[in-house]
Amino acid sequence: MASASSNSPTAIQLDAVGKSFGAIKAVSPLTLRIAQGERVALLGPSGSGKTTLLAMIAGTTAPTTGAIALRGKPLAGMRPGRDLAALVGMVHQQFDLVPHLSALNNVLAGRLGQWSAAAAMLSLLWPRDKDRGIAALERVGVAQRAYVRAGRLSGGEQQRVAIARLLLQDPAIILADEPIASLDPTRAEEIIALLAATAQETGKTLVASIHAVSLARRHFTRIAGMRNGAVQFDLPAHQVTNDLLDALYALPGLRDEAQSA
């Protein structure tokens, strides 16, 4: 588990964290430390436990065993809300946005934790903190679409708006669960580059599950390979060899997945 930034403060600490759904073991107990500012790519075949791992770090799925701490605070018992949202934010493959709300209102929803109910209601009619919302949309390159309904945006634009919402939510840790799975290769690289640059500029920690090996090498500092719910390797990005990747995606893993599906 060597990592270049082992002297930075710890952002994510997993201690023997495992998750089972009934008899099916999604994640075998694993211990992992991710330092503040690291950009970690999770690679591995579908069904290898990446999504479950991310959901546990996000606090939306409780681990069956072990304990998770984010920036030293234990995650167990933390309810969704302002405190959790300040620690960790998540981008999914898609469907993060409310289709009938404008892109701007979707972005401003990242501020809801700071707003009263009345302020939130009024903001639907007269957007509050509008300048910050527009600035975030400018940062992700879709400011000209601010007043378009999210449902009418393209897949790439929706991901940009979702990232802009994260900018306003301003969590210390950004998680991304296959954020580019529904995008074409050019859009995919743009979105990953945007996520990586956002994390780098603001010193945030980024953990993303992706399937694109080349993108993982280009934009992340560290790569963890998962298979059958276990971490196969966890190395600085430049030390990950093709042999390791071939072993990670080798057919037996796929066959196991087909059986469990």
């Binding site: 409310v98 109910a117 979702a162």
Partner: protein, 292 residues
């Protein structure tokens, strides 16, 4: 030739489910159709006699003539300016009853439909310790079932007992019945919403009420508006039914005219209904376009 043998059982397996429903329905329809005609022509000959008799035909033609004012020397109602003015006033009252009725229905449904959505009351998005909310869900669903299973006509009879006859009891009757329909439909819209944007809002720090504001209402209200306008179209037609029990408007006048054999007044009222229904249809189309 080798692959022919294993392929043989496949078509039979593929055809069986279709035969069991579609073809059986068609067969049943044909059998029922033939049997009905045999019954009408042979067994129930009295009924068929009166249905196809010259007497029926004569009565029908005479009634249509009466409606057109041909059977009487008096000026038909639809040719009198005063009758138009009088029924016009009733048409306005009828429209008012429909607007008031849909308004009551909308307010009641808007105040309750969230509580009727199971996904919000008992699912992962429900508040912790949700048994009180579950009770609210059951209460809301029971309310929708009760209000919409009692027909408007019955609500109108009850309302006329309590209030004096007029458009108010009519509007209340239409409002109560349609509140149940709108509430149920809207609750089901909420239950069918994609939970992922709501979860995303929740995890980006929104409170439960804020998730309602940002994740549920923007998605549910356009559909609610569509249902509302559709029920308004239905209500304008149903005013004639509640009017029959003295709940005011053109319906009440229709029943009076019928019992006094004022046939041309009936025609006039029907003309007004055509105008009202067409006007409401057009207004609903325009409002729907505006809401989109």
């Amino acid at each position: 030739m080798n692959h022919a043998a294993p392929a043989a059982p496949a078509p039979r397996a593929a055809l069986l489910p279709r035969l069991s429903f579609l073809r059986l329905s068609l067969l049943a329809a044909i059998v029922l159709c033939c049997a009905s005609w045999v019954y009408i022509l042979n067994v129930d000959s009295n009924q068929s006699h009166s249905f196809f008799s010259a007497e029926t035909w004569r009565r029908g033609v005479s009634f249509l003539k009466d409606l057109a004012g041909a059977g009487s020397t008096a000026t038909p109602a639809f040719a009198q300016a005063s009758a138009w003015r009088e029924t016009g006033r009733l048409a306005y009252q009828t429209l008012a009853m429909a607007v008031l009725g849909i308004g009551i229905a909308a307010l009641v449904a808007l105040a309750t439909f969230i509580f009727g959505a199971r996904t919000l009351m008992t699912g992962e998005l429900a508040p912790y310790g949700a048994s009180a909310w579950r009770a609210l869900y059951i209460a809301a669903r029971a309310f929708f079932t009760l209000t919409r299973s009692v027909p408007e006509l019955v609500w109108a009879m009850i309302a006329v007992f309590i209030f004096s006859p007029g458009i108010l009891p009519g509007a209340i009757a239409l409002g109560i019945h349609n509140a149940g329909i709108l509430g149920k439909l809207s609750s089901e819209v909420v239950e069918g919403l994609d939970p992922r944007p709501m979860r995303a809002l929740r995890s980006s720090g929104a409170g439960r009420f804020q998730v309602l504001l940002y994740g549920v209402l923007p998605e549910a209200l356009p559909r609610f508006t569509t249902y509302l306008l559709y029920r308004w179209e239905v209500i304008i037609r149903t005013t004639i039914v509640v009017g029959f029990v003295a709940a005011g408007g053109l319906g009440q006048e229709f029943r009076l005219a019928m019992s006094h054999f004022h046939y041309t007044t009936l025609s006039l009222i029907l003309i007004w209904y055509l105008i009202l229904v067409a006007a409401v249809d057009i207004a609903a189309v325009l409002l729907r376009r505006l809401a989109r």
